[in-house]
């Protein structure tokens, strides 16, 4: 017989091992689904791997997909550190995309356009995130619910925009006008889609880590998240910390939208985000809310997505499997987190 026993301390290697174990468990669990779909498990995963990380082009495609999830992952990780439950990265991303598209469509020198797009997108995301944070701080409204519901509000506002004022008059498609060519983010490697935004995302992660670990704001975020009562007693303005966290988190999620507009789609359409905001939650959890862990976690999910499509084409397993893998990875990680607080002990083994 086994039982759970409260851990008295958590070994350091756990932080690294847990996500890996969760990912391994996910792949094992999902292999059952592949088998049911009638494909060879090894073969399917093989296709997935080679299509996502097999050659340098595949790697750049995976990185391009990882970039928005790095941003949303960072947004969620920082928010969750303060226990500001921001489930609204999706809406913040969309707001960032709309704002940057708006700015990018105005003729001006390219560099200026890119900087202003980033600022506008970050500001839009931050403003959206400020809504649930303000509701929580002022009226004690549950931030999980309000930030989640706001996603739909933003999504339908975006739809109204591209079905209405922004609608393409020639084709009749619900898509926004494209941004100026000069505002398109530079491609870093000829023949790929690897754009400047990807590098910015990769730099943002260590910056966020530094912010959390080495600044007084980061200290206040951590303390507020762990024990708001002690934070307040210690002289920390808990409400202000929550609002600052929301601004920061929303700005990061908004930048995810900026990257998609400036580096990938160059315009806004209804499916500009295949749920990158929600994937950010999975990324942040896999990363154990550590900004440095967000990068590999986002690359893993991106690889599953790009690889999932190729696998579907090659083996006939539905591409939805990549969604299943994402969901299972989140569940596996949540279960794995249990083992940071508890360990399994065999009972009856003692004298």
């Amino acid at each position: 017989m086994f039982r759970l026993e409260a851990r008295t301390s958590t070994p350091a290697w756990f932080n690294l091992a847990l996500p890996l174990i969760a990912i391994a468990a996910t792949l094992i669990l999902c292999s059952g689904l592949i088998a049911i779909a009638g494909a060879g498990v090894i073969e399917a995963y093989g296709v997935m791997l080679s299509a996502s990380l097999g050659d340098s082009y595949a790697i750049t495609e995976t990185l391009v997909r990882a970039a928005p999830m790095i941003f949303t992952g960072l947004a969620v990780a920082i928010a969750f550190r303060a226990k500001f439950w921001n489930i609204g990265a999706e809406g913040q991303l969309l707001a960032g995309a709309v704002a940057s598209c708006f700015v990018g469509a105005i003729p001006m020198p390219g560099t200026l356009a890119m900087v202003l797009m980033a600022l506008a997108g970050a500001a839009a995301g931050a403003l959206v995130a400020l809504v649930p944070a303000t509701l929580r701080v002022k009226f004690k409204v549950d931030d999980v619910v309000s930030s989640l519901l706001l996603n739909s509000v933003i999504y339908y506002a975006l739809m109204a925009l591209i079905e209405g004022p922004w609608k393409d008059t020639f084709s009749g498609y619900p898509i926004s006008p494209p941004i100026e060519d000069s505002a398109n983010f530079p491609v870093l490697i000829e023949g790929t889609r690897l754009h400047l935004g990807v590098v910015v995302a990769l730099i943002a992660a260590p910056l966020c880590w530094f912010l959390i670990a080495r600044t007084t704001l980061g200290f206040r975020i951590r303390v507020t998240g762990e024990n708001p009562e002690a934070a307040r007693y210690g002289g920390i303005n808990v409400q202000r910390v929550l609002l600052s966290t929301a601004l920061l988190s929303g700005a990061l999620a908004g930048l995810a939208g900026v990257g998609e507009v400036g580096g990938v789609h160059f315009q806004v359409m209804s499916d500009i985000s295949p749920g990158y905001g929600y994937s950010g939650i999975v990324v942040a959890m896999l990363a154990r809310l550590n900004p440095l862990g967000v990068v590999p976690a986002a690359i893993f999910l991106a690889a599953v997505m790009t690889g999932g499509e190729a696998m579907s084409r090659a083996t006939g397993v539905p591409a939805f499997l990549s969604d299943v893998i994402q969901g299972t990875a989140l569940l596996a990680m949540l279960v794995a987190l249990l083992f940071t607080a508890y360990r399994i002990r065999r009972v009856g083994a003692q004298t």
Partner: protein
């Protein structure tokens, strides 16, 4: 002597580098009250947690009525007749007394058997003199009543041995008598009891036998606690003599903190009505009173957590009535909260973080918004050394420290900055006698340096020993203030009940 009710043999429990218990032997006979003593961090709670199944021991065995038993969780412990009352209660506040008793007790065909529960509660109440209204919500119970419910809960589940971990730390002195009467009656009817306390006079009055732990090992046993002195027991616990501190005469200086006509909106323990008091430099003002008479609100107002509705507060002549905790701190106010786990420390973060928390934005620990990790660590290490805080290190989780060591950490973080005014609630609650002495000496040294100190407490002997003056709180008011030269336990006790309103108003 009859066969022991329970016996622990060679119990060892190791946490990482700490041997919390090492080869501990202990037994309790039916009808016996065993005292378990030891310094903070000696391993008392750990040993009891092993007995109650919360921790698996690394070595050793447990026998119940002579038979070895394996106890893997609290259900096993209860099945073996072992009940435990933790210092932090495990009750469901939104349920009634009776419902709390019946949680997890299956009735006939899965339904809850209220009638049988009521009958059993009535029986236990009468048998041991532990009366409780079965229909009250737990959230409406006082701390003393909640503790009584925890005891009844254990008896309800058929406990033959009852473990009480520092039960008197949360009780008012008047409630202690009631608890002791119930415990004596249980022992007289054949139950065994293990009683943990740092208050040696209580231990001498109540227990039949004592086991003293030091650094996880049995340091000694006392067969006639009533026949020994507290000093002797203290020597067993600490390994050396404990001398009471001397309070030198001092002439108080100018007023450092004044409250004038402070009132708060609130209820019960959170209500203040027209409270005025003065603390001068180099003076200790004690605040006595039965808990729930506004002491909590007073501490919250002074530390900036609760803005008053009326009245003014000044520090060193400056009006600070609506100041935030941070602004008050910047003016030299030091604060030590009553509830160290929830208000004082961040249990999930490194101890060092909690120790610098109130001053993280100051130059000592950061500059231009960037932390100075080396300074934070050095500060924590220095305090750990200066206050003999027993812990694996500054980067260990604060939650892993024993209660007494947490308290020392909180004191250290305030006293390190030489506050001009210090407000402390229950400063030595849960501290062993050596640590309490150490804290007393610190307060007296601060007083000699000209700090004005307010000590809110329920231990009248401690207040009398430390204070220059003692104010008594009753129903949110200052019922009177006595010079400690004129004050006695009896006189204070009378004022605490609302009788004998007297004297100058501070």
């Amino acid at each position: 002597m009859s066969a022991p009710l329970i016996e622990m043999r060679g119990i060892t429990k190791i946490f990482g580098a700490v041997k919390a218990n090492e080869a501990v032997d202990l037994s309790v006979a039916p009808g016996e009250i065993l005292g378990l003593l030891g310094e903070n961090g000696a391993g008392k709670t750990t040993l009891m947690n092993v007995l109650f199944g919360a921790y698996a021991p690394d070595a050793g065995e447990i026998l119940v009525e002579g038979r070895p038993v394996a106890i893997h969780n609290s259900a096993d412990a209860l099945a073996a007749g072992i009940g435990m009352v933790h210092q932090h209660f495990h009750l469901a506040p939104r349920l009634t007394v009776l419902e709390n008793l019946l949680i997890g007790i299956p009735g006939k065909s899965g339904r809850i058997d209220r009638a049988r529960g009521l009958a059993r509660l009535d029986e236990i109440s009468r048998q041991y003199g532990l009366s409780l209204d079965p229909n009250l919500l737990v959230s409406a119970l006082s701390v003393g009543e909640q503790q009584r419910l925890e005891i009844v809960k254990a008896l309800f589940r058929g406990a033959k041995l009852l473990i009480l971990d520092e039960p008197t730390a949360v009780l008012a002195p008047s409630e202690v008598d009631g608890l002791f009467a119930a415990l004596r009656s249980m022992a007289a009817q054949g139950l065994g009891i293990i009683f943990i306390s740092h208050k040696l006079n209580e231990v001498r009055a109540l227990t039949h036998r004592c086991v003293v732990l030091r650094h996880g090992k049995v340091a000694g046993r006392v067969d006639h606690p009533a026949g020994t002195t507290s000093a002797e027991m203290a020597r067993l616990m600490c390994g050396h003599e404990i001398v009471p501190p001397v309070k030198e005469a001092s002439t108080p200086g100018a007023a450092v903190l004044t409250l004038d006509g402070i009132s708060t909106a609130g209820h019960a323990g959170m209500l203040l009505r027209d409270v005025s008091l003065v603390v001068r430099a180099g003076e200790i003002l004690g605040i006595a009173g039965v808990s729930g008479n506004g002491q909590r609100a007073l501490a919250d107002v002074i530390s900036g957590m609760l803005p008053p509705r009326a009245g003014t507060m000044t520090i060193a002549g400056k009006t600070v009535t609506q100041f935030s905790p941070r602004e008050l701190q910047a003016l030299g106010l030091g604060r030590i909260p009553e509830d160290r786990m929830t208000t004082g420390l961040v249990t999930n973060l490194p101890l060092a973080d909690s120790m610098v928390l109130p001053r993280i934005g100051t130059e000592a620990f950061s500059s231009k918004g960037l932390l100075n990790p080396a300074a934070i660590r050095a500060f924590a290490e220095a305090q750990i050394k200066a206050y003999d805080i027993r812990c694996p290190g500054p980067m260990a989780r604060a939650g892993a420290l024993s209660g007494g060591n947490l308290q020392k950490a909180l004191l250290a973080r305030e006293l390190a900055f030489d506050p001009k005014v210090l407000i402390v609630s229950q400063p030595t609650r849960g501290l062993d006698i050596g640590a309490a002495r150490f804290i007393h000496e610190k307060f007296l040294a601060m007083r000699a340096k000209g700090c004005g100190i307010i000590v809110i407490g329920e231990d009248l002997e401690e207040l009398l020993m430390l204070s220059d003056r003692i104010a008594v709180m009753y129903e949110g008011r200052i019922a009177g203030t006595l010079d400690s030269a004129d004050a006695t336990v009896a006189r204070l006790g009378l004022m605490m009940t609302g009788a004998g309103q007297t004297e100058e108003a501070a």
